[in-house]
Symmetry: C2
Subunit: 252 residues, 2 copies
């Protein structure tokens, strides 16, 4: 089960914004047992988005989560680009339009905008690729979309973090089933890094776990993250590594 | 002049680490006048890295900055993967080996490691793709590499942020020439987003600037970032937009 993440926005490519969205999405997908194999970021450009979506689909992930570029401004072109990438029409979602009207009416009542009416820019957000299921945005105007296409579950989410997070939790994760991965972070004291690899490989052979390691400081500590479907399996793998001479200092 | 960024590390794909490195690199490249067109992240896997490096080279960027996976642990495989992607031999850099020896000798003197000698894992860091120029790591053990390949300037940097930042500043940016882009962030008050696009397009036609926009809050404010080679050009573009009816509130 592998997944890819695509984040979209010029601000991510000029260094004006840190892409914390893809980190959040990656963490949630990992916890559901998906292996996130690649993350890609492109700007707000129809052709770029179209190209990269087609590239990702050609790698046949089980899940593709796209975030960013659903708003009302002229450079929010993600939904149209996805429709074009999939060879689908770009069609008006009537229920989305009602929801957007209501959203701006409420903003107007609160005095946040001068004009509650739907102009062209606002109406644009109600268009989705044909056959897409709208995903409810409880924190903003633009709906997301869920599309099953050639065996790939595609989710298109807003880029504003609070909107993206709510939609991911409420609309995406429930569609990905209940499988859970548990992770445990450990700090291994090791004075010869070359001894570690064979032990990790042996652990992978004997237990149903995934292991990530990364150096912490110089030479003395290696951070180890164990992923498994149960805490028991993690404990067994940990005990095995200890029996092979790895000393775990503490969690980090 | 376009550039791509590739960050490497399993921890970026499990959501355990926010990829702030690519943001830092993107900001520096943008300030040098490069248009960062795409960012990609893959895990510590030779085949994945090899594939993605070849994909990036086929798009012919002027610059490719790679960060992560240069350390001594078993899953640090970036330099070998880059050598394979380029069809170059993986060769020992003698001066790098001396530098690494010295580095571990110093750590030993400081009492940070038990054994100052070079084991296989530490020695691995002294191998670079054939023809690469080593880049000095003033904050850590692993050298970086600079490779000119088929017209692409490839820089391979460590993933530890303090090592990467120092190497980017000291070794990469001086090799990218002195062209500077200036950016100015403005907040535009606008109650109808659909009026903005034609004004931005007209500004782009008349002035030598790049413009990024993103919504701030709902409907009332749009963040505008102007990029140009001089502050004067930015002022002229700003004055033009004001003459067309955009009111700028303040910097953000």
């Amino acid at each position: 089960m592998f997944a890819e993440i695509l984040t979209i926005g010029d601000e991510l490519l000029t260094g004006n914004t840190v892409d914390s969205n893809s980190t959040f999405i990656a963490e949630k997908l990992t916890s559901r047992g998906y292996w996130v194999r690649r993350k890609t970021t492109v700007g707000d450009d129809i052709e770029e988005i179209k190209t990269v979506v087609q590239e990702i689909l050609s790698r046949k992930p089980e899940v593709l989560v796209i975030s960013g570029g659903l708003g009302p401004t002229h450079d929010d072109v993600t939904m149209l680009a996805v429709a074009e990438a999939l060879g689908r029409k770009f069609v008006l979602c009537e229920s989305c339009l009602e929801r957007i009207k209501e959203f701006y009416r409420e903003l107007h009542v609160k005095g946040l905008i001068d004009d509650p009416e739907l102009n062209k820019a606002r109406k644009k957000m109600a268009y989705l690729p044909e056959g897409a299921e709208p995903l409810e945005n409880t924190k903003g105007a633009a709906p997301g979309a869920y599309i099953e296409h050639d065996g790939v579950k595609i989710f298109v989410l807003p880029g504003m973090p609070r909107e993206m997070k709510a939609m991911l939790e409420n609309e995406v994760l429930p569609r990905l089933g209940s499988q859970k991965f548990i992770q445990r972070k450990l700090l291994a004291e090791i004075t010869d890094e070359s001894k570690l690899a064979p032990i990790l490989n042996e652990t992978l052979e004997h237990f149903n776990v995934r292991i990530h390691s990364s150096p912490k400081g110089f030479g003395k500590y290696i951070g180890i993250i164990l992923f498994a479907e149960s805490g028991e399996e993690i404990e067994r793998a940990k005990a095995f590594m200890e029996s092979k001479g790895i000393r775990f200092e503490e969690d980090w």
